[in-house]
């Protein structure tokens, strides 16, 4: 599934917090249908990078060029704000580590899933509800929970609800920040299984940030290893994990516990 142009072209992306470095001189291409994992320890700049990529944070230098559906490649920070916000609501999805940040906790599960549809002009209740039901089914939430409040959901269900809420608008690019970070191991496994299936079925491009190499191995086609704000190694997932070249990657891989 190679297309002529990458979906996302990142060049020299740098973000500082005063004198400190958030991320420094990051460049990569993301192709349609590709899943890119960003791994590294806490504080290595993974989340800063993800926030810059997803336009939640303005970088100090560098470009993020996104291949828009109608106008071709555009630097997202040069787009007008209404266009950028529309892009974020329709073409992109952002899955937060803590579902509470990505969900509206005061309204029912169905309204959470339907919100993006209504935000782009859906005005037919029956159709909105049908889409919500369909998506709840796809993320394995029982259909009779559609009118329940998210606070009655378990952690794993909340994360799946957040995923449904993002995917309902058929985005092309999804950013995930530690999607399994707050879940226990067996729930993690099921969620990863689900994500793996959805990404493959929908041909999504995904940038997933994680400190968990097992998650990276299961989801990502390609890995970038970050340390102190810089990318120290990148390559195909199996290649990076099985034959790490950089000393830091070797350390990271060696520190996985094997039960």
């Amino acid at each position: 599934m190679m297309a002529a142009t990458p979906l996302l072209q990142v060049r020299g992306l740098t973000r500082r917090y005063g004198a400190r470095i958030g991320c420094r001189d990051v460049s990569f291409d993301l192709w349609p249908g590709e899943v890119l994992g960003i791994v590294g320890e806490s504080g290595s700049g993974k989340t800063t990078l993800l926030k810059c990529l997803s336009a939640q944070l303005e970088p100090d230098a560098g470009q993020v060029v996104y291949a828009t559906r109608d106008e071709g490649p555009r630097d997202i920070f040069a787009l007008s704000e209404p266009r950028r916000r529309l892009l974020m609501r329709t073409d992109w999805g952002i899955v937060h580590q803590h579902p509470v940040e990505g969900l509206r906790m005061g309204v029912s599960a169905g309204a959470n899933v339907g919100e993006r549809l209504m935000a782009v002009g859906a005005r037919n209740y029956g159709r909105i509800r049908a889409s919500a039901l369909d998506w709840l089914g796809r993320v394995e939430i029982a259909r009779d929970r559609i009118d329940d409040m998210p606070r009655t959901f378990s952690g794993g269900m909340l994360q799946r609800l957040q995923i449904a809420r993002n995917l309902v608008s058929s985005p092309r690019l999804v950013f995930m920040d530690e999607p399994t970070g707050s879940l226990d191991v067996s729930v993690q496994a099921r969620l990863l299984d689900l994500l793996h299936g959805l990404v493959a079925d929908l041909g999504l491009s995904v940038v997933v940030v994680t400190h968990d190499l097992a998650v990276a191995r299961l989801l990502a086609h390609r890995l970038m290893v970050m340390r102190a704000g810089s990318v120290v190694e990148e390559g195909l997932t199996d290649q990076v994990l099985d034959d790490p070249q950089h000393a830091y990657t070797q350390l990271l891989v060696a520190s996985i516990l094997h039960p």
Binding site: E81, P82, R85, R104, V107, S108, G110, A111, G114, E115, M118, A119, V120, G121, R123, N124, Y125, G126, I128, R129, I146, D147
Partner: protein, 294 residues
């Protein structure tokens, strides 16, 4: 009244409020910030409406003040007396005779005319507040017309009650551009906002906002294609005047569960009774039809 300027506020303040009103009229539905003053009554009792009225009232005006449709409730009586004492202008309880009508929670049943101004008291002017607590963000949403999420509230209503159950302060689009809270009027009155020949002004004292619907401006109540906007209906008619098309209040008349429905607009009901309309229980509230002043 000695020691006070005409209509209580000083001239500079009135000038500032008039500027805000002019801007509000120029941008229908847009909330204009203004330097709301302390008024001699608590926030929530109509400080915004009073300031708007004080800024527009003149010696030739006739003022009517209603609260929940009635002219004789505490809020209405005290505001009417406030302006009678600070301006000396004529006051009336008759909708047809008034040039300025200050209101809380209702629009009179009688259609307003082009030479009338209606002033609404507004507690919370921001329609997006329930879904977005940040003012910076709601302003941005207004600026970019990002109103889609407002339907989430209506969705919740339909999902929970099978219909849009919001009955008052029902969100509207003004002139196809700005989302607006019409103040806590029943949605029964929303159709009266649409293309009204009268100028409609809204004042929120605590929140320091003024907004307006100029005459003949389209006011559209939000809805779904398959759940269209509709107003309340009653099975009863007014017990006093027999009106079947007005907004009715439920009134408890004894301690045995007896209750009747009467017009909430007391002037409308009185006019109808004076014109000879009689309901099922004309004496229920101790006001025999023949004793109602014409």
């Amino acid at each position: 009244m000695d020691g006070y300027n005409f209509a209580y506020l000083d001239e500079q303040t009135k000038r500032m409020i008039r500027r805000a009103i002019l801007k509000a009229v120029a941008i229908p539905g847009y909330q204009v910030p203004f330097a709301s003053r302390e008024m001699p009554l608590p926030y929530g009792w109509g400080t915004g409406g009073i300031q708007v009225t004080a800024a527009i009232i003149g010696l030739a005006d006739t003022l009517k003040v209603i609260d929940q449709g009635a002219d004789d409730t505490t809020n209405a009586v005290s505001i009417r007396r406030f302006f009678a004492r600070t301006t000396g202008v004529a006051t009336t309880e008759r909708t047809a005779d008034a040039t300025i009508i200050q209101t809380r929670h209702r629009i009179p049943e009688r259609s307003l005319r082009a030479d009338q101004i209606i002033v609404f008291q507004v507690p919370i002017p921001e329609p997006l507040r329930w879904l977005e607590p940040r003012e910076t963000e709601t302003r941005k949403m207004h600026a970019l017309s990002e109103y889609g999420a407002m339907h989430v509230k209506l969705y919740e209503d339909v999902a929970r009650h099978g219909r849009i159950a919001t009955a008052y302060d029902y969100p509207v689009m003004v002139g196809g551009r700005y989302l607006m809270r019409p103040s806590p009027i029943p949605k029964f009155d929303n159709p009266k906002l649409d293309r009204s020949p009268a100028l409609q002004l809204f004042g929120a004292g605590r929140e320091k906002r003024i907004y307006a619907v100029p005459p003949h401006t389209e006011v559209y109540s939000l809805d779904f294609e398959d759940h269209p906007f509709e107003v309340q209906k009653w099975e009863q008619a007014c017990a006093l005047c027999g009106a079947g098309d007005s907004f009715l209040d439920e009134v408890i008349v004894d301690d045995r569960g007896g209750r009747i429905f009467v017009c909430s607009d007391s002037d409308h009901c009185g006019e109808r009774r004076a014109a000879g309309h009689v309901g099922a229980q004309p004496d229920a509230l101790g006001q025999p039809a023949d004793k109602v002043a014409p």
